[in-house]
Symmetry: C2
Subunit: 455 residues, 2 copies
């Protein structure tokens, strides 16, 4: 069995491009929209080669067998599923850090509080650089290397630059990060620096960096790894395969995903739809997207324009990974929500903070953007959109260590304003863990213990 | 095949204690030294039950099979090896976050620079809470739960409290962290708070916290999870099994471990020695320990007292995870170094910083304490103690996100004093990645690229 040969189709006007002639900015030559990887041999459509649908039983067996393999590409939770990924000439040279194969945790306490029977968290923050971006980077960077590039680049201040720099270093390639100057978050840049990236701050905003980068990749042999790169989404669809496998190929009823740049919902939707097409599963879960109230362009688009157009906005939320006002993959995400029958919700800053603390109290740390999933789930349950017997999976996207400051601010009561906390004061207080100052005596500590046991 | 029944033996006077009557501070009643778990049925010694050595081939097969299992305890890289761990009445109730099964990365660039053929890093920082402590916590906390405790406690400001709080939360238990007041590192505490621990700062030093805690556990139903707990070491020995398995049961020639509280070297040594005893492998690797120059009590003990006594010291290093002047497990570690023919080395602050950057440039982030292993390896190679054809494994203990500030300070040149950098200025400069400020023009970025390519 082999990886499938692929082509690139525009999500706007459906124009098809060959991987060998695609523009360096990965935009459709006809209309400028994003491209998507598709596999003509699966569809038996008008494109070259015989229809060659892989056998689902054989695939499942093969993927299961690889769990015992000592080969790097088999130990990767992305390349283990390489039959559903764009072909590499030399698959054994895929650039991998053993990403994927992330845990699916049962959330018993949250489930009880919500009256749900089957609630899980798929934790993509357990990837090597601490976020879901790794699954996409291994796919796209392997393409870059196979196409002979020595340099890769992205505009990012966060998880993307960390993942890109790590995989570039692993491949002995060089990486370039462009970011807007003024408000650099040094801690977010620390990983890119650690992995040896060249980082440049430009006197412009984020969109300005994206424009400069597009020009740079046109003029120099640099491979673009921004979220427009369609190969990243191919890697990011593999958690859908892992989830299905973890449920013995009975996919869950509902998957809830944070909504920032919207690549995740797009990629996972693609993964589940392809699985159904190939006969690996018999249905797709409803895929819902949750945004922060002040960074909610998709929510507004679906509310006011049925997802046909989107208004860019000035985004603002402490959940930095989803502070995006102009999401690249909005069209793909809107389509996935509509195709799967999911919902789009928005949640407040206080709801995010509370949900993050509740996930923490299951022993599972996540970055604030991940917690919008639980906050959104609560709303969907209250609205009667999710039944108590349904199986729900929350997609957690980043590790709690990605933003320790948020956690500290929450517990020290400096995260939220009184206005933001309004209506949730009691719940928030219950979850806060202030650090107590005590005399160095066993009695003092025992009194704290007794009080905690009574509470 | 079953988990082995066990007893506890004093590492000082060899007195044997039953797990059911052990003191709550896990000290030997006869001499106050630490205890160690042993399995009488493996030795055929004077203790109860028939000699029941597990069959090594059957064990290997079983452990390999479990890689395909969907059971939580099989998916844990600790409990997968449960035949070599203290028995649980209800193994399926082990408290697990899917720890272990961490990657073994090949370090090609570092190997080339050192003239070594086979250099690897076993990355324990890829555990759920970002450090090697998770493997020990799953073992010890499962004991606590099975023995009916509702509270667990430790004195710690770092990785131990994070791991304890996470596993306690997972088990629906409560956790108490004692730490010295004055210089709290909030970022280190953020994980414990996130997982819902009760944190108390006492007006004393670290040893004072340990003393208060010993009294607290004597007077209240609280289970002690400090490093004296011998069950933690049983979990921490499992990376030895993983390493052996990853090399097809041909163990490497040399394993290099950071030396702080010295539980790691002790545990891994125990793991390799037990594997040999059980016929799972035919030899043990040399196990070497590397300490920071200003936190080197074991180094001095071996140099001046042949490892028979140790002088507590005021430790000081930016590698905070090994800033320990009075290591609990020094006796076990000294024995492991001597039994396996390993070495003890010390490295400077600049050597640590440089090694961390070199590991980073392989695409692998680690906390500074982990980097002492590469720094120490360089010294051992220079001294002719390691041959170019030998297989060497570095044990990385923590994730780079555990200490982003260190990384940032390094690249911004605020980490090391001129005195500390002396002699390594050139190498350090080569590894530093200052962030450049540029005009928002493609030309400016292209000039940076050209300069980087030429360099």
């Amino acid at each position: 069995m082999h990886e499938a040969s692929h082509q690139l189709r525009c999500v706007g006007c459906s124009t098809v491009t060959s991987p060998d002639t695609v523009e360096k900015d990965f935009r459709c030559v006809a209309c400028g929209e994003l491209l998507e990887v598709e596999y003509p041999s699966w569809s038996g459509g008008p494109f070259p080669g015989p229809r060659r649908m892989p056998n689902p039983g054989a695939l499942r067996w093969l993927w299961q067998e690889r769990l015992q393999s000592k080969l790097g590409i088999d130990q990767s939770g992305v390349w283990r599923f390489r039959e559903l990924l764009p072909i590499l000439l030399y698959p054994e040279q895929a650039v991998t850090l053993r990403e994927g194969n992330t845990p699916l945790y049962r959330l018993l306490r949250c489930a009880e509080e919500l009256g749900l029977e089957h609630l899980y968290a798929k934790h993509q923050g357990m990837n090597p650089t601490g976020s879901f971006k790794d699954t996409g980077m291994t796919a796209a960077l392997s393409q870059a290397r196979e196409r002979g590039f020595q340099w890769v680049a992205c505009a990012s201040t966060g998880n993307t630059s960390a993942a890109m720099a790590a995989y570039a270093a692993r491949a002995r390639m060089s990486s370039l990060v462009l970011l807007p100057d003024g408000k650099i978050s040094w801690s977010k840049l620390s990983q890119a620096m650690d992995y040896g990236a060249v980082t440049c701050q430009l006197n412009t905003d984020f969109d300005g960096c994206v424009r400069v980068l597009a020009e740079v990749v046109r003029r120099a042999p640099v491979y673009l790894l921004n979220s427009v790169n369609p190969y990243r989404l191919e890697g990011q669809k593999t958690p859908a395969l892992e989830i299905a496998e973890q449920f013995d190929w009975q996919v869950p009823d509902h998957l809830i995903v944070p909504g920032g740049n919207l690549a995740n919902s797009s990629a996972l939707g693609k993964g589940f739809l392809e699985m159904k097409h190939l006969g690996l599963s018999t249905r797709v879960p409803k895929i819902s997207v949750v945004q922060a109230e002040r960074a909610n362009p998709l929510y507004l688009s679906l509310l006011h324009h049925d997802g046909r157009e989107i208004q860019a906005m000035q985004a603002d939320t402490r959940a930095t990974a989803i502070r995006i006002g102009n999401p690249a993959s909005w069209r793909k995400a809107a389509r996935v929500i509509q195709q799967t029958g999911g919902y789009c919700e928005q949640v407040s800053e206080a709801e995010i903070a509370l949900a993050k603390a509740e996930i923490g109290q299951e022993g599972i740390g996540c970055e604030p953007a991940s917690a919008v999933t639980l906050a959104g789930l609560k709303k969907l349950v209250r609205q009667g959109k999710i039944d108590s017997s349904e199986t729900v999976v929350l997609l957690l996207t980043g590790h709690t260590l990605k933003d320790s400051e948020y956690t500290i601010d929450f517990h020290r009561e400096t995260l939220l304003t009184a206005e933001e906390s309004a209506g949730l004061e009691h719940e928030l207080t219950l979850r806060r863990r202030a650090t107590l100052s005590l005399d160095a005596s066993p009695d003092a500590v025992l009194r704290v213990l007794e009080a905690a046991i009574e509470a």
